[in-house]
């Protein structure tokens, strides 16, 4: 288990990258830190690894306070975006490095190196040099090297960013399976929302050194808690409104003279609150006639995208993107009505 309590990290003197930062990763859990560059996710990872010295706060790994302990005594496995393999050593020697440092020798070491090679499907490649391997193979060596020492905690810093798109998907599954098989507590840093959602038990969205939201991938995807999370997780559309009534888990809204109903609204909202309403392009539908939860729009553009068709529409609330299955009624530029699914309207207070 990893526990970070009230951490403050200053990169440049006096300017904190992280402040009052708390994070817990439970035993065997895979938590990803998701956010744009500069949000502090890598700094968090580097502080946990011991390469950044925090100004204050505490980091414990498996109950041991490691805040002031040098990186080599932290018992943490680290995987880098650049793989960071030792180019002068063979694959087997790379994997053996951590065991060697721990005084594991002879047949025991050979056995564990062989096991690790098997674990990442690289049997028979132990004698190669890193430069003779493909990017995916190199990253598997890096993984094997990090887990062979059976660390208390595994840290992965954008491990897939140097791979091509297809390989990224394969490797992501492999990493997840490996992590589950070993049951190792893992902190995973990425800027790729799809990757984070696919691989994690829990996703922590970060922005400007703070945690915006922490939750299961489903929660993060469906119920963003802040405008930042909604934007980062790809909610294409939003408009401003005012709460008129809250009852039975339903929120009634008023926007540009029209009323809407939203079903999921986790926030404590009261009538009169100014809110943002977010919805994904799939959460709306074009229709020929008005209905409940609809607003009049002007279709500006229709783009065919294979299984779906994307429309750009103009309303009194602004421009929206709408994505509908390809087999639905076709709308050409001109007036129409946009139906909003009350289940998929995310309401959050304007701050």
């Amino acid at each position: 288990m990893l526990e970070i309590t009230d951490l403050r990290v200053e990169y440049e003197k006096g300017v904190p990258t992280l402040d009052h930062y708390d994070l817990t990763v439970h035993s065997g859990e895979l938590v990803s830190l998701l956010g744009p560059s500069g949000c502090g996710k890598t700094t968090t990872l580097r502080a946990v690894a011991g390469f950044v010295v925090p100004a204050s706060g505490q980091i414990t790994v498996a109950g041991r306070d490691v805040t002031r302990i040098p990186p080599n005594q932290r018992d943490i496995g680290l995987v880098f975006q650049s793989y960071a393999l030792f180019p002068h050593l063979t694959v087997a020697q790379n994997i053996a490095f951590g065991l060697r440092m721990r005084g594991v020798r002879g047949s025991e070491r050979d056995r564990r190196v062989a096991e690790a090679l098997k674990l990442v499907d690289l049997e028979g490649l132990g004698g190669r040099r890193p430069a003779q391997l493909s990017g995916g193979q190199q990253q598997r060596v890096a993984l094997a090297r990090a887990v062979v020492i059976e660390p208390q905690l595994l840290l992965l810093d954008e491990p897939l960013s140097n791979l091509d798109a297809k390989l990224r998907v394969t490797m992501r599954t492999e990493i997840r399976r490996l992590q589950q098989r070993l049951g190792v507590t893992t902190l995973y840093v990425t800027h790729d929302q799809i990757e984070a959602l696919a691989i994690s038990d829990r996703v922590v969205v970060m922005n400007q050194g703070r945690i915006e939201q922490s939750g299961s991938p489903e929660e993060i995807y469906k119920q963003p808690a802040t405008p930042f999370v909604a934007d980062f997780l790809g909610f294409e559309n939003h408009f401003a409104g005012t709460v008129t009534a809250v009852q039975n888990g339903e929120t009634q809204l008023q926007a540009a003279g029209r009323s809407f109903t939203a079903i999921h609204a986790d926030h404590d909202l009261n009538p009169g609150n100014d809110v943002w309403v977010y919805f994904r392009s799939e959460a709306a539908q074009l229709a020929a006639a008005p209905a409940a939860n609809s607003l009049p729009v002007e279709v500006l553009l229709r783009t065919f995208q294979g299984s779906a068709v994307e429309y750009v529409v103009q309303s009194a609330q602004g421009e929206f993107k709408v994505r509908m299955p390809e087999d639905q009624l076709r709308f050409d530029p001109g007036p129409a009505h946009l139906l909003l699914n009350p289940q998929q309207l995310i309401v959050m207070p304007k701050t």
Partner: protein, 275 residues
């Protein structure tokens, strides 16, 4: 394409041939020619390797070269690591400071050593003033003086070679070693040193060959009391007027430097192919 390249390189090749290769060949020819009869003879070399003074000087030259190289490696490694890990902007400035000694006039630079090491130099004055010695100690015209002067002269070369090799070692690799349980020293020995071996070999070759062929420093700091090959050459040529003897020394010196380069090239560690 090929022909154009040949034409482009031709002037430089010709220049080098006429003003470098040709004179060397004359030198070589003269060293195996009897000065009186003009016949082919190896007597000059026999004389060189049999005479005790030239043996002593030859061994001394090699020993000093080795000592200077080792001193520079020991001094340069930590400094180069520090420089290679500096932010790029500050490193540029620091590197120009490292190179500065190479750009000062060699004679002026070496005379500065006299001010420090001479009979009435800084060190002797201080030691005398403190009453630690009664008479000025001999610091100049010693092996120590030559070592000091040459180690200082060639330290920048070693640092330059090492820094350029270390710059290419990503910090990630070091951190990987640290996270796997290596302390700073182990990381240095097992990761930094092997990955900068190319720079080490280059620097050591430059310093060693530079040291065994250096002239100005041994002349001023070693004088006629502490001869090296280069100063022996001067003595033979300008004081003893023994032209053949001088050419023999010259050929031995050049051959030794070439041999060292060749041996190092043959036995240097295979560069780890990166990426």
């Amino acid at each position: 394409m090929r022909r154009t390249i040949t034409i482009l390189v031709l002037p430089a090749l010709l220049f080098i041939f006429i003003f470098f290769v040709l004179p060397l060949l004359f030198l070589l020819a003269q060293s195996v020619q009897d000065p009186e009869t003009g016949r082919l003879t190896l007597a000059g070399y026999g004389d060189f390797f049999q005479r005790e003074t030239s043996q002593i000087i030859y061994v001394r030259t090699l020993r000093l070269g080795l000592t200077i190289t080792i001193i520079d490696i020991v001094l340069a490694y930590p400094a180069s690591y520090f420089l290679a890990r500096m932010p790029a902007r500050r490193r540029t400035l620091a590197m120009s400071l490292v190179i500065l000694p190479l750009m000062t006039n060699p004679v002026a630079r070496t005379y500065a050593w006299l001010i420090i090491l001479g009979r009435t130099g800084l060190i002797n004055n201080v030691l005398l003033g403190l009453g630690l010695i009664d008479q000025p100690a001999r610091l100049i015209f010693t092996e120590g003086a030559i070592i000091l002067g040459l180690a200082q002269l060639f330290l920048p070369l070693m640092i330059l070679s090492l820094v350029s090799a270390m710059e290419n070692i990503p910090e990630d690799i070091e951190q990987a070693a640290r996270s796997l349980g290596a302390n700073s020293l182990t990381t240095f020995l097992r990761v930094i040193v092997p990955l900068s071996a190319d720079g080490l070999v280059l620097g050591a070759t430059l310093v060693f060959t530079g040291s065994i062929t250096a002239y100005v420093t041994p002349v001023i700091l070693g004088g006629n009391r502490m001869l090296m090959l280069s100063t022996l050459l001067r003595q033979r040529a300008l004081m003893a007027f023994d032209e053949q003897g001088a050419t023999v020394v010259a050929v031995v010196m050049i051959a030794t430097a070439l041999a060292v380069n060749l041996i190092v090239r043959l036995f240097r560690p295979k560069p780890a192919a990166q990426r």
